[in-house]
Each structure stands twice: as structure tokens, then as C-alpha cells.
């Protein structure tokens, strides 16, 4: 630490300059440096500078929101891997999924991680909502975040629904036939909603590409933006104690 640029050890000085340009703080050994760490690091700035110990106690509520977010990250990464093999074409989609499972190294594990994480995320988001409801954690000042949360639940369910079609097997086709016909029962806008979702009058190529775009781009992006607001509001509204 005593070396200065241009003196004794230029290499070390260079490394220290690079390191120092990235990390603007030392090791967080004191309260002051720890606070500066949270303030100056992009990845840590989501955290409050100070948190009560009681607020981050992992208790029987199991940090369900955190679990949901973890599963979202997992789904994003595994989904990215799946996209390397998957082509949203009615002639190829099913075979691509087979290739994923039997040709790609660890493809079966990746696909199953995506599938089980998807089921898990629906469960954890539901439970998270139930927990917030039963604890009354939607009450002021958190009403707005409750609304954001319901939109996130809706996004999660739509992600689950749109992902269901993509393997293009019999289960997928008829599930989406049934699902979009349910939408058709809505008064006035029902038939238009179905046509809008399918891009056609039947579950065919138009539906597959639409659900694919919704599943891999539109809905994750909406979910991400809502999550940013959700987490920010969690910080601003404070913690009640326990995760």
C-alpha cells in the first residue's frame, strides 16, 4: 500500500490504480467504510446503508419475495440457455425441445431447472402475497407496493401461461386453445383478445411466435421494471422485522 505511482513497483501501482478506479472504498471493516461501500457500489446500492439486525432475521416468513427473485434470476439464466436451441417454428419447436433433452450436454437439466423453477416461482409469488396479506403488510404506507405486487403476480402468471405453449406438444396446444377460449368468453373484448393473442383464429404459427416474443422479451422486461420499483419501494417504506 505504500507504493506510489512511478516509484518502486510500477506494476503494482498500475493494479492498485485499476482496482481503486473500480472499488472506491476499502474493506468494510468500520461502520463508516461499510456505509460508503453501500453508497458507491452499483450492485450494493439497492441495499439500505443501515439495516436493523431484527429486520433481516430470516424467520418463518422464509423471505418468499427473495426466493421469488432468486427463481426469476434462475429462470432468466436457464431461459437464455434454452434460447440457443429453441426455434419458435411449428415445424421445429418440438424437435428442438427433444434435441435439448437428448443432444445438448446437460440440456435436460437446464430444461428441467427452467420448468421446476417456473412452477416454484408461481408458488413462491402466491405464498409471498398470502404472507403480506395475512400480516397486514399491505397497509399504509405500503398500499402502492401492494398494487405493484399484484401486477408482478399477474406478470408471473402470464409468463407461466405463455411458456406453456412453447414446447408445442399436444398439452401445450390444447392448453392454449382452452385458455384463449376462456378469454373469448369476456364480454365485448373477448373475441378481439383471443385474436390478438393468437394473431389468427386458431392456435398455429402466429400464436407460437406471439407467445414466444411475450415470453422471452415483453413480459420479463415488464416484470423487471416492476421489480425495480417494487424493491425500491420496499427500501423506502422500511422493514417490519424479519424477511
Amino acid at each position: 500500500m505504500s507504493a506510489t505511482p512511478g516509484q518502486a513497483n510500477p506494476l503494482r501501482a498500475f493494479v492498485e490504480q485499476v482496482w481503486g478506479s473500480i472499488f472506491r472504498h476499502g474493506m468494510p471493516t468500520t461502520d463508516k467504510v461499510a456505509a460508503r461501500t453501500a453508497l458507491t457500489n452499483f450492485f450494493l446500492h439497492i441495499h439500505p446503508v443501515r439495516v436493523k439486525k431484527s429486520a433481516i432475521r430470516v424467520s418463518y416468513t422464509l423471505c418468499l419475495g427473495g426466493l421469488s427473485f432468486f427463481l426469476f434470476i434462475l429462470l432468466t439464466i436457464t431461459g437464455l440457455f434454452l434460447m440457443f436451441y429453441y426455434i419458435p417454428s411449428v415445424d421445429q419447436a418440438y424437435q428442438n425441445i427433444k434435441d435439448l433433452q437428448f443432444v445438448a450436454v446437460f440440456g435436460d437439466i437446464i430444461r428441467n431447472m427452467h420448468r421446476w423453477a417456473a412452477h416454484g416461482m408461481v408458488i413462491t409469488v402466491w405464498l409471498h402475497m398470502a404472507r403480506v396479506f395475512y400480516q397486514g403488510a399491505y397497509k399504509p404506507p405500503r398500499e402502492f407496493n401492494w398494487v405493484i405486487g399484484t401486477l408482478l403476480l399477474l406478470t408471473t402468471l402470464l409468463l407461466s401461461f405463455s411458456g406453456y405453449l412453447l414446447p408445442w406438444d399436444q398439452l401445450a396446444i390444447w392448453a392454449i386453445t382452452v385458455g384463449t377460449n376462456m378469454a373469448k368468453y369476456a364480454p365485448i373484448v373477448g373475441p378481439y383478445t383471443r385474436y390478438l393473442l393468437l394473431g389468427s383464429n386458431q392456435v398455429a404459427q402466429g400464436a407460437l411466435i406471439r407467445f414466444y416474443v411475450l415470453h422471452v422479451i415483453a413480459l420479463p422486461l415488464i416484470g423487471f421494471l416492476l421489480m425495480v420499483v417494487h424493491f425500491w419501494r420496499v427500501r423506502k417504506d422500511g422493514f417490519t422485522g424479519g424477511l
Binding site: 386453445t177 382452452v178 385474436y195 394473431g199 389468427s200
Partner: protein, 229 residues
């Protein structure tokens, strides 16, 4: 009479309408931006509704001929030699969701779209009962079925178990109404041509009447007795 010319109803209105050039330009710009936003939103919505689809044509020629289906027509009785209530569940027919039925009166085509949530019901030559009572009893309980229509053959939907008699009347499960019938014609090469875009029998919930529409066996023309279209 007020001294201030603005202090009259007309004057106050005029005063209110007066604006500096900046205010006027801001108003015009704002209105323009609002108009452009509305126009853009409407056009984006319209973009999402394709003006044409790549759906398969509604009308198609089936892979079965009139002669194959009927086994020939008995010149004396004018009935199909193959018998009544014979269903042609051909491979292409199932893929395109159409079953052809020949009975004593003629031929009709059922469009296999379950009226519940749109799956494709499968044809079963026997055993289409409601699982608790005999189909005879079930049919009789509705009071309108003739003997031939109580036959156990019919359709069953794999999605939620709706069941239909051979005339496509629903009798079990969540389906709210009978399946529709579509137009059948005989092509010059003797193949039967069906048109899924042309419904000839559409029955509403609770309508258990037996449709009379048929492709007549002797003239090979429809009798034109459409229902509910």
C-alpha cells in the same frame, strides 16, 4: 355601462381566449403531441391485429369419396348400402376437425370444435355414455330422442369430458350446446368437399331438436334445411 370594455359577458369571454404567442404555440404543440400519441397508439394496436392470416382454407376436399362413404346407394330404398350412423373418421378429417356421418336420410358433417372451450372431441363407435346411467335412460330423460339417436356412438372431448350424441347434441359434461354442422358437397371426382366456413346447423343451448339438414344420397345435393344460421 361599464367603463372597462372587458367587463361585459362578451368581453370576459374574449379576455379568456386571449393568449400570448408562446401560450398559443404551446397549446398547438401540446395538442399536436396528444393527437400524434393517440394516432400512434391506435395504429400500434391495429398493427397487432393481422389483416390476413395463414390459416388453412376453410373449405377442403376430404380423402374419402361419396361411394366409399356410402358403399353405394340402394336404388330401391334410396339408402346407403353401408347402413345408418356410419361415421367416416378419416385421418385428414380428424386433423382438420371434421367427421362425416351417413344415416338413412343422407350425409352430414360435424365440425369437431367442442362448444365448451374448443378442443377436438374424438369419435367413439361405442361406449359414449355418461358413466352413471345408460345413454338410453339419459336420452329418454330429455324426452326427445328417437331410438336411432340413442345409439351409444358419438363424440367425447378429451379436455373436460363433454359428450355428444351422433347428431352432435351434447348430453354430458360442461359443453353448453351442440356442435355445429357444416356444408358438404360432392366434387366431380366423387370426393366429398366440406366447408368449415359455411355452417348449416347452429343450435343454441338447450336446443335438442334433431337437425334435418342432409346431403341427399340420390340427388347428391343438400336439402337446404339449415337451422339457426
Amino acid at each position: 355601462m361599464a367603463l372597462n370594455p372587458y367587463d361585459t359577458p362578451r368581453g370576459r369571454l374574449q379576455h379568456r381566449l386571449e393568449a400570448t404567442r408562446r401560450q398559443f404555440l404551446l397549446l398547438m404543440g401540446g395538442l399536436g403531441a396528444l393527437g400524434a400519441t393517440i394516432f400512434g397508439s391506435v395504429e400500434v394496436l391495429k398493427f397487432m391485429f393481422p389483416g390476413a392470416t395463414n390459416d388453412a382454407p376453410a373449405q377442403f376436399k376430404t380423402d374419402i369419396t361419396f361411394t366409399e362413404l356410402t358403399g353405394g346407394v340402394d336404388p330401391a330404398t334410396k339408402k346407403a348400402m353401408i347402413g345408418a350412423n356410419v361415421v367416416a373418421a378419416t385421418q385428414a378429417g380428424i386433423a382438420k376437425r371434421v367427421n362425416l356421418v351417413v344415416d338413412d336420410a343422407g350425409i352430414y358433417a360435424v365440425y369437431l370444435v367442442c362448444t365448451h372451450l374448443g378442443c377436438t372431441p374424438n369419435y367413439f363407435p361405442q361406449g359414449v355414455t355418461n358413466g352413471t346411467t345408460t345413454p338410453d335412460g339419459d336420452a329418454k330423460s330429455r324426452g326427445v330422442r328417437s331410438g336411432a339417436e340413442q345409439a351409444t356412438n358419438g363424440w367425447e372431448c378429451p379436455c373436460h369430458g363433454s359428450r355428444y350424441f351422433i347428431d352432435s347434441t351434447n348430453f354430458y359434461g360442461p359443453a353448453p350446446r351442440p356442435m355445429d354442422w357444416i356444408d358438404v358437397q360432392v366434387a366431380p371426382d366423387d370426393h366429398l368437399v366440406v366447408d368449415r366456413g359455411k355452417l348449416v346447423v347452429v343450435r343454441q343451448p338447450g336446443d335438442n331438436s334433431s337437425p334435418q339438414w342432409r346431403l341427399l344420397l340420390d340427388s347428391k345435393k343438400s336439402n337446404g334445411k339449415t337451422l339457426g344460421v
